[in-house]
Symmetry: C2
Subunit: 327 residues, 2 copies
């Protein structure tokens, strides 16, 4: 079988993806890869895994049809393999989405590295473990730990574009670059991280918000209902298309992030959350200002206000909330 | 002038709103109230305030026309008053949006309480001060501190629906109820809080996320660009229409929030943000589960997944991100 000893496929030539673990996230990956026209082989040790997986894919399919399927995409191109080895035997890429248990991830990734064809990149959907902690059992070689990367998706992986890609200490740089390129080809929006960070980026931001929410509920300060409404009727409307940094820069008016930090900087000491802010020294201030200037990319304050306003209107309309507001 | 001694208007009968302070937030309120068909009188001590305000309103107007103006709404119904007293003389409601300086807010609110007609409710746009700290100079009476409430908007107030309403220790319960009802009539989405909490609700959530972002930039862990993209391509797409609690409940699959907390509960101890989580005891677990069950309101897991999927698709389409994803 010549492919078994061939060089790894280029990201553009991937035909078959193996999805290991078929729960909410793993099943969501299956749906995504099928919709993008790949052959998918899945494996999950649960006895009812195939039924659940096919139901999940069928439930997601109408959404994927709306988005637009790739040529030849079909639910029929899903195979459920009887063993892990059979699942990865012909795969050009492996996506692991097992439960979040470190020992399980360690042994599973080692097993996958032993079973996958040479050169095939293996990505973990872990929502928080650094790859350095997960790759310790896979052997210190290009065929072992060297090809293990994190490819962290958001739920549902077939609709939320973001994937965070980062390697561990033993990961080859080429594997990280290959995975980032592959996800891009496969229709995802990729952030490649240069260094490991527990929780990566989006989950750290989300987790800070979530923990503050839990504190408020634990203390009887706010209800679940109010917490959810405070986001969907408030900042969540902006975050769908404009990130927290650029959004806050607009709160500074014409003066942008510089004015915002100089004006509201003292409020970083306010007890507005249980999380203490870092010291707003000159270096941090300048990094935020420079980052926002780069993000604006020449757009003026007026341009950005107009974009934000149109974005909010579009999101309100798309989610059925226009019309209600008219007095 | 009979109105000066009449009972306060009902929220439904408000005709004239006074907006005190005409910066980004105050000017945004002016635009909102004009678009909803009110007469608006504004006052701001800055010498160029009127020019800036009229430019802001003119810039917002096309967006407001898209949403749909109330009958008779017109930029011509804005009057810029020469003094604070003149601005509030005929007002049925007062919205204060001065800079975030506690002493300034204190004296300004006392001045407004002295100048406004009897029974008129006065709301502050403060983004974080408890009203109890701001109302101390206004006199302990219904005509003084009793009618001062927080009415905290989000930027821009003419598009983001949320207003958080809460009184201080000296605020009359009727004033809080009147303000909540008025904002509702005026097209806002209102959360009424029973108790004061620094930063209210949405800002606490937003501030936790923001401070984690600042830490990451301060430590060179992530760039401004990556932070913004991690939200707009990730959780921000869900938060535009489904809050963080219900979103996380779906991450628990059919088992919902109960499964999610039982499964991912240990990750609350993980260093995924610098904010430490509260203890996930039985009471907190049950409060989250019960809150999510109430929020689901009889919708099944499959119903909620379908709603979420359609919402993400609608938001992606509305913000011009469909089509790009097709392989």
């Amino acid at each position: 079988m010549p492919e078994a000893i061939s060089a790894p496929r280029s990201p553009e030539d991937v035909r078959r993806v193996a999805c290991i673990g078929a729960g909410v996230i793993g099943g969501g990956w299956v749906a995504h890869f099928l919709a993008r026209g790949y052959d998918v082989t899945a494996w999950d040790p649960a006895p009812d895994a195939e039924d659940r997986l096919r139901r999940l894919v069928a439930a997601a399919w109408p959404a994927l049809e709306q988005i637009g399927l790739a040529d030849g995409a079909s639910q029929d191109r899903l195979t459920v393999a009887p063993t892990l080895a059979a699942a990865v035997a012909d795969a050009d890429f492996v996506q692991e989405s097992a439960p979040e248990k470190l020992e399980l991830k360690r042994s599973l990734l080692a097993e996958l590295a032993a079973a996958a064809r040479p050169g095939v990149v293996i990505a973990s959907s872990t929502s928080g473990y650094p790859m350095s902690d997960m790759q310790t059992a896979a052997g210190d070689s290009a065929a072992g730990a060297g090809r293990l990367v994190v490819g962290h998706p958001f739920n549902p992986p077939y609709l939320i574009p973001l994937v965070e890609v980062v390697g561990g200490e033993q990961t080859d740089r080429e594997a990280v670059e290959w995975a980032a390129r592959f996800y891009d080809v496969a229709g995802k929006s990729v952030i490649t991280m240069d260094r490991e960070l527990p929780g990566f980026i989006a989950n750290r931001l989300q987790e800070a918000l979530w923990r503050e929410a839990l504190h408020m509920v634990a203390n009887g300060e706010a209800s679940v209902e109010d917490i959810d409404a405070s986001i969907t009727e408030g900042p969540g409307l902006r975050w769908a298309f404009m990130g927290p940094c650029l959004t806050f820069a607009l709160a500074g008016g014409e003066g942008g992030m510089a004015h915002m930090l100089d004006h509201f900087g003292p409020s970083l000491k306010s007890p507005w959350t249980r999380l203490e802010a870092p010291e707003l020294d000159r270096a941090l201030r300048d990094a935020m200002v420079d980052g926002c200037t780069a993000a604006a990319g020449g757009r003026t304050y007026a341009d950005l206000v107009a974009e934000r306003d149109q974005g909010v209107i579009d999101v309100l309309r798309a989610t059925g909330r226009l019309g209600e507001a008219t007095r």
